[in-house]
């Protein structure tokens, strides 16, 4: 910062420290744990369950004991972003309850990860669970973040050469600050070339209930996103967030494109578990 501004350094910043909003401080990461919880997210659970199973296999392959709590449901975000705090808290409490042991929680979406890591503490602010929520939030990690920063995961790419467009969710980018880990993983696949698309940093238009409350605005956004992606003609579209993929895939399909986005967990599993020719199928 310029010396010019030294005299302007605050002597008192007022009582209200900003709620951690965006671009959070770089966080500290734990050593590689023995056990983790896998949080599949409700959308993956019902619409893209293979991504969840692939993530589980991948983590196990890295020597992690994966606990998939059968009682997990939804992080509470839909109600929370719609302004229904009590309703969201009831659901959030249940997730904290079913993942109560002190294991890292690996979340298959930056958006749900952002909800748990970033919003749970403020959601329970001033309530008896506040401390509990903070501690819980501290052990929540987005999937790609966990692979890169905790496991130092180095995928061995066994696939054919491909070009890939990556869509990063806004929550991954701006709440979890983990957009670079998704890129890093794709870039570490030696036969994969990542291609950048126009306005890649921009929202796909999903936004939870936004896409049904304001369908035309959301539609304009997803149409632009589809155009930007298809313009670069990638072989594959990869994202670490199924919610965005559901939106983009729906629009791709609606417009008759063959391209269909894949969750990064499935893509990594696909690229690394491929058996090369001649290898016995045992």
């Amino acid at each position: 910062m310029s010396d010019l501004f030294v005299n302007a350094m605050p002597d008192q910043t007022g009582s209200d420290e900003p709620r951690k909003c965006l671009a959070p401080e770089p966080r500290a990461y734990p050593e590689k744990p023995e056990k983790v919880y896998l949080y599949g997210t409700c959308l993956v659970d019902l619409l893209q369950p293979e991504a969840g199973l692939d993530a589980l296999k991948l983590l196990e392959q890295e020597g992690i004991d994966v606990v998939f709590p059968d009682k997990q449901t939804c992080c509470g975000q839909p109600a929370y972003t719609s302004g229904y705090d009590d309703e969201a808290r009831a659901v959030a409490r249940m997730q904290m309850e079913v993942m109560a042991e002190n294991y890292p929680v690996v979340v298959l979406s930056g958006s749900c990860g952002g909800m748990m890591h970033h919003h749970y503490p403020s959601m329970f602010k001033g309530l008896p669970e506040e401390n509990h929520a903070k501690k819980f939030a501290d052990r929540v990690f987005e999937f790609t973040e966990f692979l890169v920063h905790v496991l130092n995961y180095q995928p061995e790419d066994k696939g054919e050469p491909q070009t890939v467009a990556v869509h990063t969710s806004c929550s991954a980018r701006r709440e979890m600050n983990v957009h670079k880990t998704g890129w890093q993983l794709i870039d570490s696949l030696k036969n994969v070339a990542r291609k950048v698309h126009d306005h890649e940093f921009e929202c796909c238009g999903f936004g939870g209930s936004f896409c049904v409350r304001y369908p035309d605005i959301s539609g304009a956004m997803v149409n632009d996103k589809v155009k930007a992606i298809t313009d670069i003609e990638p072989d594959r579209l990869i994202s670490a967030d199924y919610a965005c993929l559901m939106n983009i895939n729906g629009a791709l399909d609606f417009q008759g494109h063959e391209l269909k986005g894949t969750h990064i967990a499935s893509y990594l599993w696909e690229r690394t578990s491929m058996q090369s020719e001649g290898e016995s199928n045992v």
């Binding site: 302007a8 910043t13 019902l46 369950p49 939804c74 719609s82 936004f210 896409c211």
Partner: protein, 490 residues
């Protein structure tokens, strides 16, 4: 453009529909916002320094707001000491009346105006015209809009929605000796010539204010065209008009905020003109004989009272949030229907106008966070949008003080009940399992028409098995193969 239905006669959804389906508008805004985003990012090249500067900017604004009543008192005392007259206005009506009183006191008939969003907020021009005083906008963008009888669509670039061709037509029709030309320089020269006359004949100059320094009693005004300099120096009377939140404590607070403001807004290290007005004319040195400051509340004390909402008032009006907003980029500013459009408008307008009149604004966002990422004073806009959604769907408890006008403006029994059921379903694992099972079993029955969604997308279909069941099966397989291995080795 002029045959459009007046904006206030349309609801939000209708305005959205109209503007989304205007291809020229869509292209203009996309290109203009791309340009402004590029300007900003090319001027903030060092991200570490930028983050330090934003932290400093936020803390300066927070510090000022934490002492707001004291600083306003100090400001008033200092301004008076310097010979500037201070007027307090609780509402738009009061502010307009104050301006009128000053004008009538001087027998004024004409007013030359620098850019002032607060005067847009109070609809000062319309008010003065009715009272027989003719205001002339001297900021080029505002001048164009005054001729076109339109409202600003952006708070820094008010006429950004107007094409060169539309401006050429407008000038041809309205200015003496101005032939149709698409030469931008020629157009500006034509307007400049006309405005020069107005500067010399105007009885009063009126401008906005970017910052007020409590310590020194100075009014700071940044601009690029020189209209602010002229409007504050040529006429005999200068009236400055602004919101009470614009006060800062020290003169030393100013440089970082100016750096943040101009770089965030237009990618300029500093504007062409930085006016610091500390008093009326002294002796023969020139300048106005009288300087007045009209300080407007108009609902600002409502967010001030709430610790979280107060952050709204940190805003220094750079418009970076608009320039980076994917919704604003597609709608333009008019669809919002408020003086301040875009993300900052969606968190400020509900306080100024109440939630009944603005209930759509907090919801018309995907909460992508691009706004907060660039906000020079770190306003957590998505958090505040969400908070306003919350206030919009809840009813006040008994004896609870309202934090905004129009609590529960978006409340409906149906939606409340729906979220209640949703919450029950997702906080009860047993219910959820039943739901998931039936959703996957009945996947063939998924409605192919989901209102809104299917206008742009095919509908998603539940998988044949949920992740819960896939994991269960997988665990079973793992166990079986382990047992097999164990059996085989025995």
């Amino acid at each position: 453009m002029s045959e459009q239905i007046p904006l206030h006669d349309l609801g939000f959804d209708q305005r959205v529909e109209r503007d989304l389906n205007n291809p020229a508008l869509r292209t203009n805004f996309r290109e203009a916002m791309d340009f402004l985003m590029d300007k900003r990012s090319s001027s903030f090249t060092d991200d570490v320094k930028l983050q330090e500067l934003r932290t400093l900017g936020a803390s300066i604004r927070k510090r000022a707001l934490s002492k707001l009543p004291d600083l306003l008192e100090q400001l008033e005392a200092k301004l008076k000491e310097n010979g500037i007259r201070v007027h307090w206005a609780e509402s738009s009506e009061e502010a307009n009346q104050t301006v009128l009183d000053i004008a009538q006191h001087h027998g004024a008939k004409t007013m030359i105006k620098g850019k002032s969003m607060v005067s847009e907020e109070t609809e000062l021009n319309e008010f003065l015209e009715k009272k027989g005083i003719h205001p002339v906008e001297a900021d080029m963008g505002e001048y164009i809009l005054q001729l076109a009888e339109e409202k600003p669509s952006h708070i820094v670039m008010p006429a950004i929605h107007k094409s060169k061709e539309a401006i050429a037509e407008l000038f041809e029709q309205n200015l003496d000796d101005c032939e149709y030309t698409e030469n931008v320089d020629a157009l500006i020269q034509a307007a400049r010539k006309e405005l020069r006359k107005q500067f010399h004949s105007a009885d009063i100059g009126l401008t906005g204010v970017n910052f007020m320094v409590a310590e020194t009693g100075s009014l700071v005004l940044v601009e690029n065209e020189g209209n602010g300099r002229l409007a504050t120096t040529v006429p005999k009377v200068h009236i400055a008009m602004t919101g009470i939140e614009k006060v800062i404590e020290h003169l030393d607070d100013l440089p970082p905020l100016l750096t943040l403001l101009t770089n965030s807004a237009t990618g300029q290290p500093i504007t062409t003109y930085v006016n610091m007005i500390s008093s009326p004319r002294k002796g023969d040195e020139g300048g106005p004989e009288e300087v007045h400051l009209v300080l407007l509340d108009n609902g600002r004390t409502i967010p001030f009272a709430d610790e979280e909402m107060r952050q709204t008032l940190q805003c220094i009006r750079c418009a970076a949030c608009m320039n980076h907003c994917p919704v604003y980029t597609r709608l333009g500013g008019h669809a919002y229907g408020t003086t301040y459009p875009g993300p900052i408008g969606s968190i400020l307008s509900p306080h100024l106008l109440g939630l009944e009149a603005t209930k759509d604004l907090p919801s018309a966002s995907s909460l992508c966070g691009a706004c907060s990422e660039v906000c020079p004073v770190k306003i957590p806009i998505p958090d505040l949008l969400r908070r306003l959604r919350h206030e919009g769907v809840r009813k006040l408890k008994k004896d609870e003080d309202p934090v905004i006008r129009g609590h529960g403006a978006k409340y409906t029994h149906t939606e409340k009940a729906a979220w209640g059921s949703w919450s029950k379903l997702y906080s009860s694992p047993a219910l959820y399992r039943t739901f998931a099972l039936s959703a996957t079993l009945l996947r063939g029955l998924t409605p192919s028409k989901m209102k809104g969604w299917t206008d742009y997308r095919t509908s998603p279909k539940p998988a044949s098995k949920s992740l819960h069941s896939l994991v269960k099966n997988y665990r079973k397989e793992q166990e079986q193969s382990r047992n097999k291995e164990a059996g085989g080795s025995q």
